[in-house]
């Protein structure tokens, strides 16, 4: 199915999946690191398990791993690293810039050491449009894009 068709029912093929390309220096799809990832995960040794990132809290879970021999750095927001139930050794330095304050890290030079994420953008479908007056007032022609900022009191 072409991405530009007029089908009003979005399907996975309508999604902008072309961006989901894994260059050679990126981690495997399951999140495990390869030794060739050292340019992005400097000073890492072997991470033989699946390094999972909990989508709710960003915690990195190294549970049930083998050896984690490198510098295991943590994401900026809460930065909890869980090495629970590991059968191997954790020999490295855990150098996360862990501020635990929910803010940005103090040193953005560590940015490239954080776990990667993937994003996607569904293709917009042509649906109903606002009248001209309403579009001008709301700042968009498209009802599906009318997303007013509701501050802290919104739904």
């Amino acid at each position: 199915m072409a991405p530009f068709d007029d089908d009003l029912t979005p399907t996975l093929n309508d999604m902008n999946v072309e961006c989901c390309i894994f260059p050679p220096d990126m981690p495997n799809r399951n999140g495990s690191n390869r030794s060739s990832d050292n340019n992005r995960y400097p000073n890492n040794g072997n991470n033989n398990g699946n390094n999972r990132v909990n989508p709710d809290n960003g915690n990195v879970d190294f549970g049930n791993n083998g050896n984690n021999n490198g510098n295991n750095r943590v994401p900026p927001n809460n930065g909890n690293v869980d090495f629970g139930n590991n059968s191997g050794n954790n020999n490295g330095n855990n150098n996360g810039n862990n501020t635990n304050n929910g803010g940005m890290p103090d040193n953005m030079s560590n940015f490239y050491t954080y776990p990667l994420a993937m994003s996607y953008v569904p293709y917009q479908e042509w649906q109903n449009t606002y009248s001209g007056e309403e579009a001008l007032q709301k700042g968009t022609l498209f009802p599906e894009l009318y997303l007013p900022f509701l501050g802290g009191g919104g739904k």
């Binding site: 530009f4 042509w126 001209g132 498209f142």
Partner: protein
Amino acid sequence: MMNNANLQKALKALQVYDFILHETILYLDGHPKNTKALAFYNDTLKKYNQAVEDYTKAGGRLDAYHSPAEGSWSWVETEWPWKGDES
């Protein structure tokens, strides 16, 4: 100046059609073969062109390249077309 009701009305219409035409252009940039968007664009473009004509006939000046200079410089004697609604 811009206290002519027809001119105000024409300007408002022009702003509306200019906005939704531009929104449609942005959509078409990403969906260049969408037949519904193309039809909407063609329809809106006609209305936009009519709005430009109405605005100009009512004495409005969209830019200095289309401002008659007969005896005085009409471009600066009219309200700017981007002027907002003060009400």
